[in-house]
Amino acid sequence: MSRHRIVRTMDYNDEYDGYDDIYGHSVEDEHCISPTDAQQWLYDRARGQQSISAFISKNKDIQEEDADEEEDEDAAFEKARRDSESFQMPQLDEIEQAKLSSCVDEVRSVVGDAVSERRIVETSMKFDYDMQKILDEILNEETKKSAKPAVNRMKAPPAPVLPKTVSKTVATPPPKISLKEPRRGFEIPSPKVPSSPVVSGRNTPVDISGDDISRSSATLFKVSKEQAVRNARQLYEKERADQKSHIHMIVIGHVDAGKSTLMGHLLYDTGNVSQRVMHKHEQESKKLGKQSFMYAWVLDETGEERARGITMDVGQSRIETKTKIVTLLDAPGHKDFIPNMISGATQADVALLVVDATRGEFESGFELGGQTREHAILVRSLGVNQLGVVINKLDTVGWSQERFTEIVMKLKSFLKLAGFKDSDVSFTPCSGLTGENLTKKAQESALTSWYSGPHLLDVIENFKIPERAIDRPLRMSVSDIYKGTGSGFCISGRVETGVLCLNDKVLVGASREQAQVKSLTMNEFPQTCVFAGDQVSVTLPALDINNVTVGCIISDPQTPIPVTTRFQARIIVFNVKVPITMGFPVLLHHQSLIEPAVVCKLTASIHKSTGEVVKKKPRCLGNNSCALVELETSRPICIERYADFKELGRVMLRVAGVTIAAGMVTKIR
């Protein structure tokens, strides 16, 4: 039992060279020791630690009363473990040795890892390698041992699920009630446990096949009991009752409409940017001769963005209003950065459409090819219902009411076509640079003479909070991966549905790698629980950074997200230059994911309003048509049906920098 041998990569044929020559066929012959078996035999520091830490974390919040019993068990567990690790095999001649090891393997396959090596070996030798007797002996012993905790468990009333944070307020429970999860070590030999990843040192859960499945519990992936039966709604009310509600707002519009300046000024006026920083921006922008960009620099931080004077990636910031915490997402307006804007918009609940009131500018942004149109259609197809329209730079036309109404009329008819309800759209005149009508009522006499509506902050205040799907299974979309302050790396993204708590187990991406949440932060503040709609950063240790990509989905192990390369979607085709045919290569946008895909089949074209099948297998799809198509991606992606998860069932198809279609996933294969 040399602990310095690298068993994994060992060439067993070499090791056993000469072995076969002497004994012809040995017991071991056919199936020599496998790496997993070898692992059980060898002391592995990493493995040992892992099993301890797993054990500790699971029992973190056990009440004090359990301590002594706990210790007992602890000691027993420790002993068992030490037993297997430091146990020296008895000196035997080779035939005996072979018999013994095959015997131990057999026993292990029945009782699992629960029983220590030493016990098996000793029992085996006692009964002279008679499988039946050995098993009887070991199993009987185990049942006796587990009898005591089992009784305990039976006496306990169905344990109320208590969120961690409230455990202090609960009256001390009678000592017999054990809230903790029963330890696996005392369960009756359990082949049904598909070797818990934590114990086996392997991170990816294995698919178990054949009769294992019938015996295993309904879920493929083990989660802690707490995670399994959590009442999300209750937890939410406990955690968030006293807090302002969160809302995500994306700011969209044509390039140079003044989105960043407007947001920068808003942040400044609400006191989220210090005087000193603002002064710095003012000085620096003056130096470059771009003083009008001083507010935009609050959000455009990279050198490239400042030098070019445009936003390139979504900038994020927060403001607090009287009743809400608003996360501002400042989208880029430039045509080439629409992919960035889409990934921002998938996180948004509401949108603010900024249009430039300057003569000529509004028109160029609104005509075909301008981003005002495309952005508005995009956010609508991404599920944003409420839209605040900001008519910006109205000071350049002397606060003219005529111009305001002209733009409002044009936009109103367009937005109606795009699918926004009149009641969900508001129009606000303002100026991002001068700050007029931003956070205070309008002062300018030219404006006050005809406008008495709400100012921008009020408009934001008046947005309705959308319903959050808190009690659905967890889904979180990854929008960014970066090095955090501590160890490992952080994944930031938005929790689309469900709840995520500290120490929860999750599955990551299409590879369904398992990981445990080590820390949760929201706006730099550590959290114990986060809920649907939150923008969070998660630290997942022991995860390969190459397995996580922007756009992948983190899901609940109990109801994992479907992974597929081919799915059917119902799409609405926008204005396209060339028709969509079979084999049309497109870029698929799903949440933050951008993946090349091919339209591999046109199943049927559908009537836009009635949903009737107009033609089966059309040859091509032209402008403004509606159809069922099948899409195939080159790599497997995580996707949900629209009927199951609205948030994750929406896709966008883009070609050559133009959005050609938006769709909903109807079938996954």
Partner: protein, 394 residues
């Protein structure tokens, strides 16, 4: 490719001796050789000798073998063609009927004998031997965090390397991570260009991206080149060209090849021509759907009434094993030509060819509208509907 000898008799039977000179020629050979042909070439074979005492020695012998081809493998990355088959000409080392795998080598001639040479095959030889066709272009399509370094030759687009780096987004107060990630990404792309682009062959290097990524990268590359003294880059600075593309994915190469500036520089390469032809087809489908058809059934019907003006056909259709099927396609091509139509054979290794292959591999622009074709609804395969029904289970 060099044509060293050609003997094709009236019955279109005969043999051709060719010498591949560059890796592209392997692709032509791949399209030329079909199962059932016989190929004669020099090769290395391991021969085992047994002495009278029973001990055996094995040594490698270079010998010339003729095999009847049974299977063909083409490695697109290394451009190696591997032919497996039985020996049909016995020599002192290799018995009749013994299996051998020929690796066609550059600058070694091989003789190809076909039971029947058709026009497509003969044309292919002509095309392969035309030296004016070769025009190599390297292209880098990139976006933040993703880049493809491709080599575009006359009949192939080869992705030499794909670089994927996850770049942290900009976030409040820490833009360093973003900029560091970006620099790392640019460095990788530059190294990949240095490694994969042979500046002796390549006429120009296209750098295509959305936004300002290409400018940033270009600046970064030459800053580094000066700093690290990369002579190779500095000497070839004039070969670099910045073009707009909408994304860093491979199929945005199509946009790159349509860019007028690129077209001017690349003159009339096959790749650009194919992109244009496919674009025309799509335009026609949009404007006059009754004059553009795809799918074998429709196109054959159109060919019957001699309506085809331009036929677009992917070369993977000619590589099929079924002799009868291949013949059908060859006949179609010939009939279109006889009727005065134009035939464009797309290389399935190009982006546009890939798309055409997905679009059933065959498409046609017609001289006159044939709306009756559209109405003849094809109700053949229902596999999709059947497959859809059982996929509901999960």
């Amino acid at each position: 490719m060099k044509l060293l000898g050609k003997y094709v008799d009236k019955g279109m039977q005969g043999n051709v001796t060719l010498m591949p000179e560059e890796s592209e020629d392997m692709w032509h050979a791949y399209n030329l050789i079909a199962e059932g042909d016989s190929v004669r070439s020099t090769t290395i074979r391991k021969v085992q000798n047994e002495t009278a005492t029973g001990s055996s020695t094995s040594n490698r012998v270079r010998t010339t073998l003729t095999i009847a081809v049974e299977s063909i493998d083409f490695d697109t990355q290394a451009c190696v063609l591997r032919l497996k088959g039985r020996n049909i000409e016995e020599n002192q080392y290799v018995k009749m009927g013994a299996y051998h795998t020929l690796d066609l080598e550059l600058n070694r001639k091989f003789e190809l004998r076909k039971p029947e040479w058709d026009t497509i095959a003969l044309e292919r030889i002509e095309m392969a031997c035309d030296p004016t066709q070769s025009a190599d272009v390297a292209a880098v399509v990139m976006q933040e965090g993703l880049a493809h370094v491709c080599l575009i030759t006359a009949s192939m687009t080869l992705v030499r390397s794909k670089i994927e780096v996850s770049i942290p987004r900009k976030r409040k107060g820490s833009v360093q991570q973003h900029e560091k990630g970006l620099a790392k990404f640019y460095e990788q792309v530059m190294q990949s260009i240095l490694r994969h682009v042979n500046f002796d062959v390549v006429k120009c290097v296209l750098i295509a991206s959305p936004g300002f990524v290409r400018d940033q990268f270009y600046d970064y590359m030459f800053q580094q080149a000066v700093k690290m003294d990369y002579k190779l880059l500095l000497d070839n600075k004039s070969k670099f060209m910045l073009v707009h593309a909408s994304s860093g994915f491979k199929h945005s190469l199509k946009e790159v090849l349509q860019d007028p500036a690129v077209l001017a520089k690349m003159s009339d390469t096959k790749a650009a021509g194919e992109v244009k032809a496919l674009e025309q087809f799509y335009m026609m489908l949009q404007c006059e759907p009754a004059k553009a058809f795809y799918g074998k059934k429709h196109v054959l019907q159109a060919a019957e009434s001699q309506a085809i003006e331009t036929l677009l056909i992917s070369d993977n259709l000619f590589r099929c094993q079924d002799v009868a099927l291949r013949k059908e396609y060859v006949n179609l091509v010939e009939s279109v030509r006889d009727a005065g139509g134009e035939v464009k054979i797309f290389s399935s290794m190009h982006i546009s060819g890939e798309q055409l292959a997905q679009l059933t591999g065959i498409a046609a622009l017609l001289r006159f509208p044939m709306p009756e074709l559209e109405d003849s609804d094809d109700d053949d395969d229902e596999d999709g509907a059947a497959g859809g029904a059982d996929s509901d289970s999960d």
